[in-house]
């Protein structure tokens, strides 16, 4: 019993505790620089390569939209889970979040991805939503499209042009079209 009482007395007569008791002060509420917040724009020009949309794990969290002065990714905070993958995937450094961009430049890390389109002919009802929503090859050249309704069904014309942005998958009413994204985390050897 005496041991316990001594411990408790020692616990409450520590100078640190007495100082805290008299001069208690809440730590200032500041966000540390390493906190991964919602991605923000750095001001660099977006080339609409859709890599951010390709890698985003949360449905409806990011969309690359065209404005009067060019393309820009837009983050929807209600859907974004602040994982920072879009920051790492962007080849043009358009987005930033915490120290992700800095760490990526320092470690020379990035992602490499390949895409495979597949259409389930039994589910597909040939509505053409995927062809209309696909953002690739919309500017003038009709041969540059990835998908087209032909011969009574969706045909994959140029699968190598696919950017893996999942827009077709999201807009398909039946989940008949699937984009497999095989992503690898890579690092360049230090110079």
């Amino acid at each position: 019993m005496s041991e316990s009482i001594i411990w408790y007395l020692r616990e409450f007569l520590r100078t640190e505790w007495i100082r805290k008791f008299l001069l208690a002060k809440t730590d200032p509420l500041v966000t540390p620089p390493y906190f991964k917040d919602y991605p923000t724009l750095t001001g660099k020009e977006c080339t609409a390569c859709y890599q951010c949309m390709m890698i985003c794990p949360a449905p409806g969290a990011i969309a690359v939209l065209r404005h009067d002065d060019g393309w820009r990714p837009e983050i929807y905070p209600g859907h974004c889970i602040r994982c920072g993958l879009c920051v790492e995937a962007c080849p043009e450094d358009v987005l930033q979040s915490g120290r992700v961009l800095e760490a990526q430049h320092r470690d020379r890390t990035g992602f490499r991805a390949t895409f495979h389109l597949s259409i389930d002919r039994e589910i597909c009802m040939r509505c053409g939503n995927c062809c209309i929503s696909c953002p690739v090859g919309r500017e003038g050249e009709p041969d540059g499209a990835v998908l087209k309704i032909e011969k009574g069904g969706v045909q994959i014309l140029n699968s190598d042009l696919c950017t893996g942005c999942k827009t077709c998958e999201v807009n398909c009413p039946n989940r008949g079209i699937r984009v497999a994204r095989v992503v690898e985390g890579v690092q360049e050897a230090a110079a």
């Binding site: 316990s4 889970i81 890390t109």
Partner: protein, 362 residues
């Protein structure tokens, strides 16, 4: 009909001591609790169904969200299972960094579990102290990964961010603070007579019963089952010369002391990792392919198993998760809460086995 019990008392699903909803039905004679029965099913999320048909970069975030306390180990076991399917090698530096983040997560989980126990036995001073220490640990997690809980640090073939010299120095300084505090609190816990009255000899489970009920994690190790620690089979931990913490009493006190000792052990493991951190890359690349695997890892609460089947592009076809808490909850209700002296001891014994209901029901 012959009356065998006086009253059947329900505890939960909403109870101030429970972190998550679960119901215990206690059959009592007077104040004495003869038997308990557990009732699950209040927070089913169906997360395994959501995972199907998705690639690793989406599933790793879902896997973390199975449990809000031990999220890092879910990420780690899932990613290591995918690496096992695809034959991806991890660079040594990344393997050590994974251990650092995993042990930080284990520390915060154990400190939270001990907070919960102290709060249940109404020792709110120690509970509050422990939550304060947990903040320091979470700050270190945030410094390395950018997030406090759902860190998403590991990817197939490596980790996402490297650790700099300044970060490592700050991490070690933070750990020194945690070590000093946890050492003091462990002694407070071990020497306090009030805590001993509520903890020593309450909810005792012998080694035979623990093996029979397949108790895992600190619950098993408190009943002298050191071989249930799966870190013994992990290659990086083997390199670090890991030996599990073990106690023989098997009561509430032992379970909490095992967790306190494991916090100290985690600190020394992190120091060892930072000291031996090899130079080199943190990502090796490698795409996920088709395959099937069952992979186990040691979560803060015990053995965590993932069964995964994937297609040629690395998408998940089938996934089943078995989490440690289901074994511990069963072991607790069958072998620990068995003829305990009061209803108040039921809540404290149940919390001492560190049940995680979010994991259990997924």
């Amino acid at each position: 009909m012959k009356k065998t019990v006086d009253v059947s008392i329900p505890i939960g699903p909403m109870h101030p001591c429970w972190k998550e909803p679960i119901r215990l039905k206690c059959e009592t004679i007077g104040e004495r609790v003869l038997r308990t029965e557990v009732e699950l099913g209040y927070m089913k999320k169906g997360i395994e169904r959501i995972m199907r048909g998705r690639p690793w970069q989406e599933v790793m975030f879902l896997a973390e969200r199975i449990c809000g306390i031990c999220s890092v180990i879910h990420n780690m076991v899932f990613i290591e299972a995918m690496e096992g399917i695809s034959g991806i090698a991890v660079p040594p530096r990344a393997a050590y960094l994974r251990v650092v983040v995993n042990e930080l997560d284990r520390m915060e989980s154990h400190i939270l579990a001990n907070f919960s126990y102290c709060y249940t036995i109404e020792h709110e001073t120690l509970a509050m102290y422990l939550l304060n220490v947990r903040e320091i640990v979470l700050d270190q997690l945030e410094r390395i990964t950018g997030s406090r809980i759902n860190t998403a640090y590991m990817i197939p073939g490596g980790v996402r961010f490297d650790i700099t010299e300044e970060d490592a120095a700050a991490l070690l300084a933070g750990l020194a603070r945690v070590e000093e505090d946890v050492e003091r609190y462990t002694r407070m816990f071990a020497t306090s007579y009030l805590i001993a009255l509520r903890s020593r000899g309450v909810g005792t489970m012998t080694r035979e019963k623990a093996i029979e009920a397949h108790a895992v994690g600190p619950t098993g190790r408190a009943s002298n089952v050191p071989e249930c620690d799966l870190r013994l089979q992990h290659p990086t931990y083997q390199k670090l010369g890991f030996t599990p913490v073990c106690r023989t009493e098997g009561d509430n006190f032992a379970r909490n002391m095992v967790r306190f000792d494991e916090v100290m052990q985690s600190i020394s493991l992190i120091r060892q990792c930072i000291g031996q951190l090899p130079e080199g890359p943190i990502r090796g690349g490698g795409a996920c392919t088709a395959g099937e695997i069952t992979y186990q890892g040691e979560a803060p609460r015990g053995e965590l198993t993932y069964y995964i089947k994937s297609d040629e592009y690395g998408r998940i076809i089938d996934i089943t998760v078995r989490t440690p808490s289901i074994m511990n909850i069963e072991a607790c209700t069958h072998h620990m809460i068995n003829d305990v002296t009061s209803v108040a001891d039921v809540t404290s014994t149940f919390i001492s086995s560190d049940p995680c209901v979010a994991c259990t029901e997924r």
